[in-house]
Amino acid sequence: MQQETVKFTENDLAKYPFLKETAVYMKKLGLDIEELTSPELGQILFRAQDRLEQAILFVSTGQKGRNDIEIPSFPVAIMLAIATKNSFIKKRYALAEAKGAYLDFQAEPAERLMAIAQDFDWNIAVNSESGIPLDYFSVSFSDYLRNVTHLREAKWKLVNRLFTNGRVFLSQHDVARLLQEEVQRRIETRLDAKEVPQFPQPIMDIAEKMTELAKEKIGESEMEGFPKEVSQSAFPPCIEVLYDAASHGRHLGHVGRFTLTSFLVTIGMPPEKVAEVFKTSSDYNARLTRYQVEHIAGSRGSGTRYTPPSCSTLQTHGVCTGSDVLCRRIRHPLRYYLIKHGQTKPESQLQK
């Protein structure tokens, strides 16, 4: 819609090295990764390592340096993150870069912010509706929806937005926040390399160091999975209702059935036990039920193991039964189970 009127400067690229134009800059630079360990290019590698360290420790990207070091240090940091093959590091790094950009986006003049948005193929314009503040932007609803999927606050729901004729009206602050999501996705995509090339030894050594650092940072707590025994007393209210309905033979809708099955399978109930839950159902068909349960458990079909829908999806489809105190703190029924399980003594365990 809007023509790109702003040309990005080297200062812009140093601030936002994830822009497409960085590739042009890098091509001109003609960097050879074998030379990264040389004294001249050592500063770039050093800054790249710093980017990752800051991300792992503080979700930050650290102190910016000279443009000719800052810009190339970004693709090198990407390479380092790929070399770690560690999903925590990759996620954390993408988040840190995106958060840093978000702070800078808020201070950009409107034209430059729009140019950045257009780098992500957004359909964005300066607001021209008289009823809406003049310093607002208008964004197509599809660009908006693509970027609010992880944002949880009520204000991001489309029902609570200034919305007309396909356009969502946003303050600069809101645009910056949504662009943060774009940046994170773009970097995550780059880090999601299918094949990891053979990196020079010094690169691998740094990657090793980063992995150690990450392990220290996250500790062992994040590595824990679901408790070994199934504890019915830790079921969230929605699952409790579904479980009760199914075991009394009442009919469940498609979403309800899927939610209950995927929940039970994910927390570790064996598929044959799950199938038994539906035994008293009026339309029970042993073979079909078994097939469906195994499909959801990933032992049939595509092998995808399905997890239950999030709280907001359950609300959309009318499966959410209204929340208790713990529900307000979580957004996924599995999270509820984990927390509640941690609080309750395993007294009413179901046989596994």
Binding site: L145, R146, L158, T164
Partner: protein, 422 residues
């Protein structure tokens, strides 16, 4: 010949007629097709066709009772689900009387308890909405016979009108991007085939569902978060403000039009107390011009937080569209193909222009079988209209009916062929 075989022959004649054309959806060759086979009553899926000629010859050969295609576009429609290569999907909405309370109360629907040990011999029978549990034996399995009456269609039409208004005014789609269909049974399908929606994932589509069904509007959320608030006398002023965009515009417009004509009885019917209802009717001008237009909610004595919330809630429920939430958020959904017969009615899924929603009569426009008469024995059927002619009600009688009416009654389990033909 069984009644079902006879219907099969009518379907076969219809699809084999040289005049029959398959209206094809956009990006035809990228769609997955699915068929419910008449005789085998089995589903055949994962079919792809290079041309509508190829599709037509498949249908002519197999004669399905129902034809579906994916809302999605695939690189390889015939592959297994996770190897198809999803390349986007239309945004589709299904509005069906099955899941919406209708003014007829579905009194034309019948249910029969399937419990062989039901206290009532042969299983208890009832009319209207199927109960959760059999009143006689507590059984939970039922056979049902549904029906689509004009009131069912009228109800779904209102929901469709609300949806179309949102799609055009708020989402900004033009009439050319929106395709409206009668579903062939008791409701409407809306397809949006626009580049803007193709790549939206299930989460983004769910957000659209929430918009259309009014889920998560902050002023109602606030009430949920602080239910004690309404009981505090001092905090009786709503904090919400209405406006000129999105849902705030819908609520403002809806509250205006509701309060303009609402009588004391209308207000009491939505749970407003005598005092509040009187105050609203007596101060109508102030209510409309000061409260609603200027967001000043506490200037009419006797009309406080609780009253305003009831009005807003009522208006919200009038403004939403009761779509099937699962259909819209499923990016792999199969949906009935345009111009094909519905296996429960023998009516067509048929497209009509958006602006003709109010004038298009599905009981005329969706009739597929023209001409011919057949004698049928009818157990029980309510009065109905087809092609402008009124039939019934019938009870245990033999009647000669046009083919379309006979097909409908047979598929609905209300009649069978009067005599065995050779």
């Amino acid at each position: 010949m069984s009644s079902r075989d006879w219907v099969y022959e009518r379907f076969s004649e219809f699809y084999k007629s040289p005049r029959y054309e398959f209206p094809s959806p956009a990006s035809f060759s990228q769609r997955e097709y699915g068929f419910l086979l008449f005789k085998e009553r089995a589903m055949v899926r994962h079919k792809g066709f290079a041309s509508s000629t190829a599709l037509r010859s498949f249908v002519r050969q197999r004669i399905p009772s129902d034809v579906y295609h994916s809302c999605a576009y695939y690189e390889n429609p015939e592959a297994e689900m996770d190897k198809k290569g999803w390349a986007g999907a239309d945004l589709v909405f299904d509005i069906d009387a099955d899941h919406i309370p209708t003014s007829c109360g579905k009194i034309h629907d019948e249910w029969k308890c399937s419990n062989p040990d039901c206290g009532v011999s042969g299983g208890m029978v009832g009319r209207g909405i199927t109960p959760d549990m059999c009143p006689a034996c507590g059984g939970v399995k039922f056979e049902t016979k549904t029906w689509a009456c004009e009131q069912c269609i009228d109800t779904t039409r209102v929901e469709t009108r609300n949806l179309l208004d949102m799609l055009m005014a708020d989402f900004g789609f033009s009439e050319h991007e929106i395709r409206t269909f009668f579903s062939g049974h008791r409701g409407y399908h809306i397809h949006v085939e626009s580049e803007a929606v193709r790549s939206l994932d299930a989460v983004a589509r769910k957000e659209i569902v929430d918009y259309v069904t009014g889920i998560g509007i902050d002023l109602f959320e606030e009430k949920k978060r602080a239910p004690h608030r309404s009981r505090q006398k001092k905090a009786s002023t709503p904090t919400f403000s209405l406006g000129d965009y999105g849902w705030k515009r819908r609520l403002k417009r809806g509250m205006r039009s509701f309060l303009q004509t609402a009588s004391k009885e209308d207000l009491k019917a939505i749970g407003i107390k005598q005092g509040g209802a009187s105050a609203i009717v007596k101060n109508k001008e102030t209510i409309l011009n000061r409260c609603i237009d200027e967001n000043r909610w506490n200037i009419v004595r006797g009309v406080g937080y609780e009253t305003w919330m009831r009005i807003a809630e009522h208006v919200k429920n009038r403004e939403i569209s009761q779509i099937d939430t699962v259909v819209t958020s499923d990016v792999h959904r199969l949906i009935r193909a345009n111009g094909t017969l519905h296996g429960k009615t023998g009516l067509l899924k048929v497209e009509f222009p958006v602006k003709e929603l109010d004038t298009f009569d599905p009981f005329v426009g969706a009739v597929a079988f023209k001409g011919g008469n057949t004698r049928v024995s009818i157990w029980d059927a309510p009065e109905f209209k087809l092609s402008g002619e009124t039939f019934g009600p019938y009870k245990n009688q033999q009647v000669t009916l046009p083919t379309a009416a006979a097909v409908l009654l047979i598929l609905k389990g209300r009649a069978e062929l009067a005599e065995v033909q050779s």
